[in-house]
Every structure is written in C-alpha cells, then in structure tokens.
Symmetry: none
Subunit: 131 residues, 4 copies
DNA sequence: GTGGTCTAGACCACG
DNA sequence: GTGGTCTAGACCACA
C-alpha cells in the first residue's frame, strides 16, 4: 500500500488517512473496491490496529470509506467532493507552512517551487511504479 | 515581532524558533543585534517565559543566537551556514509533505505551485509591511 | 539505575543524560532495550518528570534513544558513533578542566593521574556490582 | 594573565578564581606580589568588574589574597595549606566527574589518562611560555 | 498506559 | 535586570 514514516512528526493515523486518500485520488483505489481489513493493514504496516481503526473511522465519518459491519470496509461509491473553498483552505494553510519553512532556511522562491514540482512528480511516479 | 497561532499543530516553542529564524533570514534581525529578553517576548506573545526560553536555548545550541549571561541574548555574528545538502534536505522533506497533502486533497500540480508562490510572496510582503 | 547528586553544579537533566549514556557505554543498556518510562524514572530518582523528559528528549534528538509515541522509549538500535575527533574533543576539554583544577589545588601530575585511575575503576566496579 | 572561556559551563568568577590559584601554584605570583586592580583585570579580560571583585573576595576570604584598602590587593604572605584531606577531596570529586565523562563518551582508561597527562603538561608549558 | 506541551511560580547564578 | 533550572500540576495526542 504505502509506507509509514515514524520520524515524520505527523501522527501515524494521519499518515494512514492521507495515504488512503492519496491512493483514491490517484485512482489506485476505485469506488466500491474493498480496502484491507484493519487487522491486515495493521500487520502489514507494523502498527497498532487501533491506529488503523482510527484512520478508517475518520475516513468513514468523512464519507470516503463505507463500513459494512461483519463484512468489510469499502471505498464509497460517491466520493465526497470537498467544496472548492474548503479544499483551497487546506491547501493554502499547507502552502503557508511550506513557504515559511522555505524562507526560514533561506531558500529563494524559485528553489521552493522547484522542490515542490520534483516532490509532486516523484510522489505520483512512485505510486505508479508500485501499481 | 511575529504572531503565534494556537491553532497550529506545531508546538509554540517551535513556532517561536522558526519565527526568529525567519526574521534573521529576512534581514530583520541583523547579526549582533539583540533579541527581546525572554520575559519581554513572553509577555508580548502572551506566552509562558519557559516556552520562549526553550526556543532561545535551541537557537543558541544551534549557533543562531548568542547568550550572554546576565546581559541578554544576541543574534550570533556568524550565522551557521547549513550545508547546502542539509538545507535542501529540510526543504525537500517539507516539499514532500506539502506535495502529499496537495495530492490528497486532489489539487493539480499547477494549483499547488500557485499557492506556494502566493504564500511565499505574502509572507515576505507581510514582513516588509511591518518593518 | 544511577544516582543524582543535587550538590553537583551540573543541571539534573544533564546528569540524567550522562547517566544514560554511561549505562549504554558500559553495556548495561543494550540497543533495543527499553528504558524506564519518564514517570517511573522520575519517581525513582525523586525528580520531576519534566526533568527526565528533557534528558530523554535530548538523547532522542541525538539519536541515542528512540521514542515510540504512546508505547515507550528504547535504546536506538544503531548508536550514533561520534567521530573520533568529536569524542576526543569532548574528552580533551574535560581533561583540561580536570588538569586545571588539579594544578589549582597544588597536586602533582602523578597524584592527579592516580585519582583518575581510582575514580575510573571505581565507577566501573560500582556499575558491575549493581548489575 | 590567563584566558576566559565563555563557552565553559563554569561561571566566569570561578574561572578567574582558579586562574589566580593556578598562577600562585605555578609560582607566577609570589607571596607579597600585587595582583592587578579589579578594574584593570576586568578591562583586560573584557569582563564585568563585579565578576572580578567576586573572585577576589572569595580568594581573600580563603586567605589567598590580602586586600589593603585604598592601596591594592596582594598575594598573602602565608598561603593557606589546605589539609591534605580537603585537597584530596576536591581532587577526588573532579576525578570522578572526569572519569564519568570519559566513560560516557566511551573512552578507555588509558586514553583518559593520556589526555590528562597531555593537558596537565600543556597547561604548565603554556604558562611557562607566557612567563 | 506512553510521551509532549504548556502554565505558573519559584529559586539561583550572573553582570 | 538577564538567562537557567526545577517543581507541581494540568491537558493533550497517541498506541
């Protein structure tokens, strides 16, 4: 699926949550497809099952996943379309954080943009490779 | 000086640390200049002095600030030049995080870059305005 | 584990930090082994948990300990090998301080060396005894 | 006279105190000789006069220096001979501290001793050179 | 349960 | 006045 980075300051459940969202955004997980069981993914990621459960729960609350009790967890048929305002809000916050650290380490705007382009494409490519 | 965002998941002491680094990177704090006393900045930011002290101490350990006991705290004359590799490493990590969230919310690369440019310039401009 | 000396001018958090390093250097704490929880060690040493936390945090930043959030703290598998230059630097500084006080109290070199040998062996022996 | 090391964790007044004791132990300051005035030494060392005054005061209390008001400060004619027990006590404490840091950084006893011998001789030699 | 952070308030060393 | 340290106690995030 994807990797967990213990050194990442972000909590593990959030890394999982974002990982699932990314897989859906990239088309690796199609609507209606089943996602691994909590226990399987936990074992796979070497992580506490509670942690995976929390990520799944949040995704279900957000309408991204659909839990069928006793059966399994699936990608929801209709992916919730975040209002453009919301989406942009989240992106903007992330952009401010990124720009701030770029300035803090003394990087020029051009370098900051370059890094983003590289990183973006690498994330996508890395995904494709595994698929 | 700068603002603290309690909603930011980053700990306050880190926000202060980065804020000081940013001011130095922007030239607002010149080498040799004195930074506000722990107590003053704490009062200014409505924050506990220990929190400011923690940030200052980390900056001093990193060679960014110079502590003169009983006298005050100053911007070090020679700013430690992080090796380009290190600097780029930090920037790259931030870029990956940013790109990941951009992908997770379904943004195209162009939008992600746009947001970074806007944010970068806004941070710089905001600084100039206050100066 | 080890003892804290309130009369020592060194801050307690540093005594703890060095104590842990010593235990690792002596092999009493093997890589991968778990160290006492912050609260347990604090109770054991009759010290505030924050003080222990500070020491652990510094050791974690230095790569000596590995923090698993919500789980515990462990001795890192790969101990950071300080470059011989660095290690010798630290030792040399300590040696200069020691030699200076020896001279200041009027001790001959032989006596100073004798004391070091005795102290070194006593520290090691004391450790062995507790093990 | 001697140098002050701001990076040394030891307080400056103690560095001065030990420096004077060392000069006397080495014979550079003979009984009856005058030591620099508080203000002169402070200017020389780029240090606050209060700091030098504190060191002188402690030395005078210990009978090492003799203050003649309005005239100057002198090395006492009879240097107080610390009882061997006391002297050894101070040396022993220093030795334990030194041995502990040596072990903490992973040095063998031989290396620790070597460093002490080198440091001791260097301090003496450095003094002779300046004399 | 774990560690991480923040606060309020105290004391000390230093200049 | 400055920064450094410690305490006690609280809350949070995480597993």
């Amino acid at each position: 699926m994807f990797a967990i980075n213990p050194a990442d300051p972000a909590p593990i459940w959030r890394q999982i949550e974002e990982g699932v969202r990314r897989l859906i955004a990239l088309g690796a997980l199609q609507p209606g497809a089943s996602v691994p069981s909590v226990r399987d993914l936990a074992k796979d990621l070497r992580v506490n099952p509670n942690t995976v459960a929390r990520a799944y729960q949040r995704l279900a609350e957000g309408g991204v996943l659909l839990v069928k009790r006793g059966e399994g967890t699936y990608v929801a048929d209709e992916q919730p379309q975040p209002k453009k305002a919301q989406r942009n809000g989240a992106l903007r916050d992330a952009a401010v954080r990124y720009a701030s650290t770029a300035i803090a380490v003394g990087s020029a705007l051009e370098d900051a943009v370059d890094e983003v382009e590289t990183a973006y494409q690498r994330v996508v490519r890395e995904h494709r490779r595994k698929a």
